[in-house]
Structures are given as C-alpha cells and as structure tokens.
C-alpha cells in the first residue's frame, strides 16, 4: 500500500516535470559462456533498435542496461534482481534460452516488471505468468507450420526426427512437430536423440539412411544441423530436410556449404522481402552500418523485443509505470515490427505469421508464408 502511494506521488511529480528523463530498460543476455553466440546476436538487434529509436514520444531517453549472465541461472537471477532493485528498470528484455528466461521471469513476476523474451519459444514459458511476454512464436505453432506444410503442400508421409536432448527448444519443437505430423496423417518412423555440442553425427545419418524416410525434421540450432546436413551429404542421403528458426541465419548456410542446398526451415521474416516499412528501414540502416544485407532473425527479434517495449511505454501515460507497460504489451495489435506484423495476447504469447525458406545458391530464399 505504502509502495503504491509512493509510486502515485512520484508519478505525479514526474508527469508534471517537463524535463526529458532517462528511463532504464534492462537487458539480460548470455554475452559470454557457451551461449554467447546467440546472446551476442540478439543483443546486436536490441542495441541497433535502440540506436534507431532512442527516445520515447514524450522526449524521454531509453537507456539500455545490459547485464551479462554467462548463460548461467544463478547469474540470470542476480542480473534480474539487480536490474529491478538497483537499476530501477521499467521492463526487461531477455534472457535467451527458455530455462534462463524462466528464471528472469520468475523474479520479475514478483516485482511486477514486464519481461519480453526475444527468442525463447517454449510453450510453457508464459503459462501462469502475468508479466511474461514474447515476440517470437511458440514451438507448437512452429512445429505445426512445418508439419502442415510438409504433409499438405509437399505430400510427405514419413519422417525422422532428430532431437537435441539438452535443448529445451529442440524438445519442445520436436514434440509439437510430432503431434501435428501424426495428426495430419504422417508417420514418425524414427526419433534420434543427440546432444548439443556434438560434432560427429556419422552414426546418426547412417541410421536415418537406413530408415529411409520421406523427410527429416531437425529441430536444433545451426551448429549441429549444419553438421548433420554435411555428414548426410557425405553418405549420399538426400531427403528433404526441415528445421525451425534455430537455423535461420547466414552462419548456418556458411557452415553447411553445398550440403544445405535445398534445405527448408521456418523463419520469422525474410530480409529479402521486408514485411513492413519498419523492417525496410531497419534493414537499410543495418546494411549501411554493417555492410551486411543478410540479417539473422535473432537480430530482428531482439530489435522487436525492444520496439514492442518502447511502443508499450509510449502508450502509457507514465512510461515508467511497469504495470501499465505490461498491459500495453499485452494489447499489442498489428504492430509493425522488424520481423513482421505481430499481436501479443493476454497470455503474453505473440500471434504472428511464419515464413518458410529454402536454401538456394547459398542464400535463404523465401518460399511461403504461413499465417496462424
């Protein structure tokens, strides 16, 4: 009660002052440690979006406070607590993986600080949580997209699923795909377990070859998938292969080389055909700054986590009112983000379209858009 009163008075004081302020938005990311690659990519988008739009409508400046977590749960908890209690952030963007994001959300929930997860896709993440949101789609949506596309458009009947036991992302996506694929009349002929960090999949690809399925579904991140694709090619296994957004980046194609020609995967958007004006501008600015046309969807999602946060702050009378910001996030409708048009519902999940891409001539080429 006391707190609320204090908040009310401070709000009144701040609202009356016309001087532009700095408002802190927290970012917790794995910038070092085993997950550094992904954290650094997502943060690139967040930071770049901040540089494009550093100010709110009312002239206040948004200051990003980045705390590295080393991809560690204890540090994620420290980071979230520090952002909330010392840096007084109004909202948090992060973390990266679903388990660490759950850690951040658990702490933010108690303090009523909204969290926007840029890339954590696990279905369970936002359940039972009021202040948990995300800009990416969920595993079940993505799994269904691939399953439906494969069965209906490509008429594939049997599939082998390779799942990375150590990655929540992989497990969730594999389960969603399996459910949708079976429901659509397909058959999973084999499920193979691997572990992230593995490099050697020769045994795996030999087994797949022996099972002789119509297609492969590899719901993993690009380092492992590119290896599997290469080693599959070496033994002459050439079946249609699918992955989720975990491989949606140029590095995947660089790593995979020839072996990933024809590879299909879901993605959030196609930088070659920007879905929105903001997307166009962002890509142009990004190309100008870095000299790279290609953009990883983690960059776009990082940017959108920031953009949605800023949009929600703009829609609040007091951009420092975290509860209001959370409500505003949850009423994001037809928001034109870098990664496409997105809606965020009461559960905090985003409803958005997915695109399917195929690798042609060492480039990811847009193939289809799947709407929810």
């Amino acid at each position: 009660m006391k707190k609320l009163a204090l908040l009310a008075t401070s709000v009144a004081v701040l609202a009356s002052s016309s001087v532009a302020k700095e408002i802190n938005v927290g970012v917790t990311m794995s910038m070092s440690g085993p997950l550094a690659a992904y954290g650094q990519t997502a943060y690139e988008g967040i930071e770049f979006a901040n540089s494009l739009q550093p100010k709110l409508k009312n002239g206040d400046t948004v200051k990003l406070v980045l705390i590295d977590t080393k991809g560690d749960k204890v540090e994620s908890a420290n980071a979230a607590t520090r952002l909330i209690s010392s840096d007084k952030v109004v909202g948090i963007i992060g973390e990266l993986t679903s388990t660490n994001t759950a850690q951040v959300m658990a702490i933010a929930e108690k303090k009523q600080i909204p969290v926007i997860a840029p890339v954590a896709t696990n279905d369970k993440l936002t359940e039972q949580k009021e202040f948990a949101n995300r800009v990416c789609f969920t595993d079940s949506f993505q799994g269904a997209v691939v399953a439906n596309y494969a069965t209906k458009d490509l008429k594939l009947k049997t599939a082998v699923v390779v799942v990375d036991q150590a990655q929540v992302y992989s497990l969730g996506l594999a389960k969603a795909f399996t459910d949708a694929f079976t429901k659509a009349g397909g058959k999973i002929v084999k499920e193979i377990k691997v572990s992230s960090g593995d490099k050697d999949f020769k045994a795996v690809v030999s087994q797949i070859k022996a099972a002789n399925p119509d297609m492969l579904f590899l719901p993993m991140y690009h380092p492992e998938v590119s290896m599997i694709a290469r080693q599959a090619k070496q033994i002459g296994l050439s079946k249609p292969m699918f992955s989720g957004d975990g491989v949606a980046n140029q590095t995947f194609i660089d790593l995979g080389g020839d072996a990933v020609e024809g590879y299909m995967f879901t993605d959030f958007f196609d930088y070659g055909a920007p879905p929105t004006q903001r997307s166009k501008d962002f890509i142009a600015a990004y190309a100008k700054k870095t000299g790279k046309q290609e953009m990883n969807s983690f960059v776009a999602l990082g940017a959108d986590a920031y953009n949605v946060m800023v949009d929600a702050m703009n829609r609040c009378a007091n951009p420092e009112d975290s509860v209001c910001i959370n409500n505003a996030i949850k009423s994001t409708v037809n928001f034109e983000g870098v990664s496409g048009v997105l809606n965020i519902d009461k559960s905090g999940n985003s409803t958005r379209s997915a695109v399917i891409k195929v690798v042609q001539n060492a480039k990811a080429v847009y193939k289809a858009t799947v709407n929810p």
């Binding site: 440690g33 020769k202 045994a203 070496q234």
Partner: protein, 294 residues
C-alpha cells in the same frame, strides 16, 4: 554398415587421440591436468581460420601458421603461467591451468565474438570417396593417416633422441634431470610446444570436419580427450592413442546400434573411464605415478 561405422569411429578417435597425446605428455612431465589444452586446440582452429579467411593463405600455409602459433602459445603459457609454479603444490598449478583456459575462452569471446565462424575448407578435402561401399570425405581418411604419421614422429622423438629420453626421464624425476646438465625447464617447455602443435593439428581437423570455429569448441573435446588419455593410461603416448580410438569408436558405434542411448553420448567417455579405472586403476597401458613405496 558396420564397416562404415568402424571407419567413422576411427576418424573421430584419431582426433581425440591427437589431443590426448598433448594431455598425456604434459601430465607425464608435470603431473598437471592441463585444462587449457582443449583451448589451445581451439586457438589452433582459429589460427587456421585467420590464415585462410583473413590472410588469404593457402591451406597448407594456414596449417603451418596454426601449428607454429599454437606451439608458441603453449610454450608461452608454460613460461608465464606454469614455470613459476614448478615447486608449488599441484593444486595451484591446476587452478592456474583453469585460469589459462578461462582466459583463452573469454578473450576469444570478447575479441572475436562467440558466433561460430564458418571454416573455409579447401574443396579437395571435401571430395567424397566411394570405396567398396564405404563413403567418406577425403578429410575423414586423412585424419587417421596424419595422426599415425605424427604419432610415429612423436614416438621416434621419445625413444630415439636424447631429448625424448630426457622427457621420459622427467616423468620420474625432475631434479635429477638438471643434474645431467640438462635444463629441465626447457625440456618441459618443449613438451608444451609438441603437445600444443599436435592440438593445433587436432583443432584444424576438427574445424575441417565440422567446418566452424568458436571460442568454446575446445571445452568438451578437451575433457573427453583427457578422459581418453586416462583410459589409455596417462603418461603413455601409445595409451593416449589407444584411449582416443576407444572413445571415438564407442561414441560412434554405440550410437549406431543403440540409437536410444543417443542422449548419453557425451557420458560414454566418462562411463568408460570409470569402468576402466575400476578394473585397472592406472588405465590400460598406464604406469602407476601415485605408487607409494613402503
């Protein structure tokens, strides 16, 4: 099918073996589990990458750069971080090795980024050969051949040259080696150089086979290679090769025939290790360093 898996296992095992030799040699002279050894391998991979992608060197020159660079790094790490601790408790040395390992991983992360970099593999290494129903890329065949060649060199050095004798002598007594008029410190640094050069070759192979390099690539490989060295009998070069092959085979063959065990793949090295040590506490070809005489 079985033969194919054998070939695959042999190739993977050779890579573990290359890295395990460095572990076993350093352990032999210093009794140090050099936790930074896996990271030296990572640096080897990175140097190869820089050589080809940045400096535009031909593949062979890049490999040479990686070998020389890693050997120098290994020797420098000994000179700077380990040599001052020769008379210190073993645990200080071990923590220092962990420190060097953390330093390399984090420094590469900060300065070169954690995003895996695609390793530009020369096309001739990627050609696939079809031989009696076995399909494999040239690189996969090259790995065991080069490993065998390097092993032969190492064994020749160890058993036919006076430097090799000094290395073996060091394994039992450092102080007395100095009494022979030999600078024991220089020999130890030499061992670091040799082990690191092998690790660099391992790192390049790794980068060629799984064409990418990233700062954490050496961590798990390093630990598994160490486990391999212990399985074979730490201190014994032959043992390191044997251990590397065993673990490489197990990982490939077990997964091939018991796919449901896939989730446990990374644990095989350690399960094997525990089983071996229970029945032969010094590893397969090992010598008992801990032996206490009454």
């Amino acid at each position: 099918m079985f033969m194919q898996q054998m070939v695959n296992g042999f190739s993977l095992g050779s890579m573990y073996a290359l890295i395990a030799i460095g572990y076993t040699m350093v352990y032999g002279v210093l009794r140090l589990i050099n936790f930074a050894h896996g990271d030296i391998m990572m640096v080897g991979g990175f140097l190869g990458y820089f050589g080809i992608a940045v400096l535009d060197l031909p593949f062979g020159a890049a490999v040479l750069l990686a070998i020389v660079g890693s050997a120098l790094l290994g020797m420098a790490s000994d000179r700077v971080a380990y040599r001052p601790l020769r008379s210190a408790p073993k645990i200080s040395l071990l923590i220092t090795a962990i420190g060097v390992s953390f330093f390399l991983e984090n420094a590469f992360n900060v300065f070169f980024g954690g995003v895996p970099k695609a390793f530009p593999v020369p096309a001739y290494l990627e050609n696939v050969i079809d031989f009696m129903g076995l399909t494999m890329p040239v690189s996969a065949i090259l790995v065991p051949i080069i490993t065998a060649f390097l092993l032969a060199i190492i064994l020749w050095v160890l058993y036919k040259t006076k430097y090799g004798m000094a290395i073996r002598a060091l394994a039992f007594d450092v102080g007395t080696v100095n009494l022979m008029g030999i600078d024991a410190n220089r020999i130890i640094t030499l061992v670091f150089g040799m082990g690191s050069a092998l690790a660099a070759v391992g790192g390049i192979f790794w980068a060629v086979n799984y064409p990418s390099v990233e700062p954490m690539m050496g961590v798990l490989v390093g630990l598994k290679a160490f486990a391999a060295a212990v399985v074979g009998g730490i201190g014994s070069v032959g043992g390191a090769v044997l251990g590397g092959l065993i673990i490489g085979f197990t990982e490939v063959v077990v997964i091939a025939f018991f796919p449901e065990l896939g989730g446990y793949k990374d644990a095989f090295a350690f399960i094997f290790l525990i089983l071996i040590l229970l029945f032969k506490p010094t590893g397969i070809l090992g010598i008992d360093f801990e032996k206490s005489r009454f």
